[in-house]
Subunit: 358 residues, 2 copies
């Protein structure tokens, strides 16, 4: 492990500790206010708090700090400025996860019940669909409230607000494109969005570019630095998603926490699938198994073997390496004007996101 | 009709004309960008644009201008400052209507198909549920983008952004409270929110207080004026909603554009219903008819008669008059420091919202 990777790992630990302390303090009064409206509104706010506090990797929140460090001319990170935006990104994630899990009928999230599953239990079967959609909407409102608490010169915060709004537009377009590509129901003639377009909008915007640019805006980054970070985030975000695709088939479920081969059963149009579909011999095999919830273990194993044998996996892995190299190239351009912390964290982010095994 | 009412009517006409011109110009590039992602994402953006351009009363957009006039020390309205916020409020309304209509299975909106009905037609039956939720989410992102386009000292815009975020949190809590009060499925012990709590959160925040405070923030209103407008908007918003409740039962469907007695069939817990339920003799009748989709005309007519005979209607009408009087009292306090336009529009808003018959 390089030094930067260690630095990034410590950043993640520090960010998690910070959020474990700040999120309950932020959410507590909101839950109380919701309970004062009615017990059911309180139930919804509690479900949101539950999911948010259960915590993910907090990687997006960490990337807000990375963006801040990269956008600042100063070595010091002003955590009071970063924290509201970090909380906002966690709540944005809650919002998107609530709607996403409800759509995908995924009852489990972060090792516990998804928000719609909590609401089905507590509000009953007739209200939970609408309740889950409104729960997501409420989290979105909370996220905006958190963002605008930031104590900061207003013009910087405004740049951050623009970056934030853009993330929301992009990620939702990405989700729509992905949903429609996966289920391949074409409402109009014309090809669906390519896997990398979906990744750019859905993953890069929301996972890497968005948090980086939000942090950079809060630090008052120059337009040139903003452009560099946007390009850095784009390469890294696509690499992150392609890595995710590979880990979903070839990863160790114990390390990733996700059941292996689920993407294939669910019919996800991943980069691996797209590569395999280019092989005329494999296309027929794929057609029978992809999105087939009843596919047998042997059928799934045959698809996975074909991904290896045709070189589909190798091509995706090579693409990930290429994308990480692009990100490293942008980092090199930025290097002369980065603080040591900014450099170490950006470099560490490449290892952590693009070269991870979990 | 008083002079102020004429002024407010002209304001509404002017705002409608302005939005008819600006909304297509604002939405056009977004629809093009969505189509560039994929044809289906384009379909969703087109459905949003369709509903938004079909137009409602544009009352919330007009109230942004009223808030601006009331918050400004100047007689001139800077429309370039108000317009992005007006567009944002129209898109916020689109967002909330999309989710609301989908939840309520209301296929018709503004004299045409609701967004989920358009998507069911164009994307097919398996995708439209998720499509409708994401469509609302996209409109929410658009609304935020529109708001942050405002050319303005950043601190004023920041105050506006806070007002906007607060509206979203309040309106969603109001919707949750209303949904749960209507369907009376209690997940916890404790009474549901009162009708006026729901009205405060749902209608007052989103219809009156929110737009007024957003406009006031854009004009750089003093904290004192902001407080006055908040109180004005609260009285007026509750009056507006109670008037709506009365018109839903006693209004002329030709004037209101809404089928009469629908609220009763749908089981809405309106102020009329709450008043009637206080009469022991009427409670039994109500229990058999409220929310009963198969209620006969005679049964519905009996409930409506009881609302008259028990004085339930008179009590609600008296409450509306009382609320309008409260708003007028706040207006009187503000009067010495209002511009003539600000005064006329606020006064006209009381007539237009509280005393309307359609």
């Amino acid at each position: 492990m390089t030094n930067s990777a260690t630095d990034f790992a410590s950043l993640l630990i520090g960010v998690r500790r910070r959020l474990d302390e700040r999120l309950p303090a932020w959410l507590g009064p909101r839950v109380a206010a919701a309970n004062a409206v009615s017990p059911e509104v309180g139930t919804v706010a509690e479900a949101l708090a539950d999911l948010t506090l259960r915590g993910g990797k907090r990687m997006r929140a960490a990337l807000v700090a990375v963006g801040y460090a990269a956008g600042s001319t100063d070595e010091t990170i002003d955590w009071t400025v970063c924290e509201p935006a970090m909380i906002a990104f966690e709540l944005l994630q809650t919002y998107l996860l609530v709607h996403d899990d409800w759509m995908d009928h995924d009852d489990v999230r972060r090792g516990g019940p998804a928000v719609h599953a909590i609401l089905r239990e507590k509000l009953g079967p007739t209200l939970f669909d609408a309740g889950a959609v409104l729960a997501g909407d409420l989290a979105s409102g909370y996220a905006q409230e958190a963002l605008f608490e930031t104590k900061l010169p207003a013009d910087r915060l405004l740049a951050a607000a623009r970056a934030y709004a853009r993330v929301q537009v992009e990620v939702v377009q990405g989700q729509l494109a992905e949903m429609q590509a996966d289920r391949a129901t074409l409402g109009k003639s014309g090809p669906p969005a390519s896997v990398e377009t979906v990744h750019t909008l859905k993953t890069a915007s929301y996972t890497t570019t968005g948090p980086l640019l939000l942090g950079a805006a809060l630090a008052g980054a120059t337009p040139a630095r903003t452009k560099e970070l946007e390009s850095f985030g784009l390469w890294l975000g696509i690499a992150f998603q392609l890595r995710d695709d590979v880990l979903g088939v070839f990863g160790d479920p114990k390390a990733t926490g996700k059941p292996v081969w689920n993407d294939i059963r669910e019919g996800k149009r991943t980069a691996l699938v797209e590569e395999l579909a280019k092989e005329p011999a494999a296309a027929l095999l794929l057609a029978g198994v992809l999105g087939n919830a009843n596919a047998t273990h042997d059928e799934l194993a045959a698809v996975v073997r074909a991904m290896e044998e045709t070189g589909a996996r190798a091509r995706v892995e090579a693409r990930v390496r290429g994308l990480c190299a692009e990100a490293a190239r942008v980092l090199q351009v930025m290097a002369p004007t980065l603080s040591p912390t900014g450099h170490a964290w950006l470099s560490g982010a490449i290892s952590a996101l693009g070269e991870r095994s979990a």
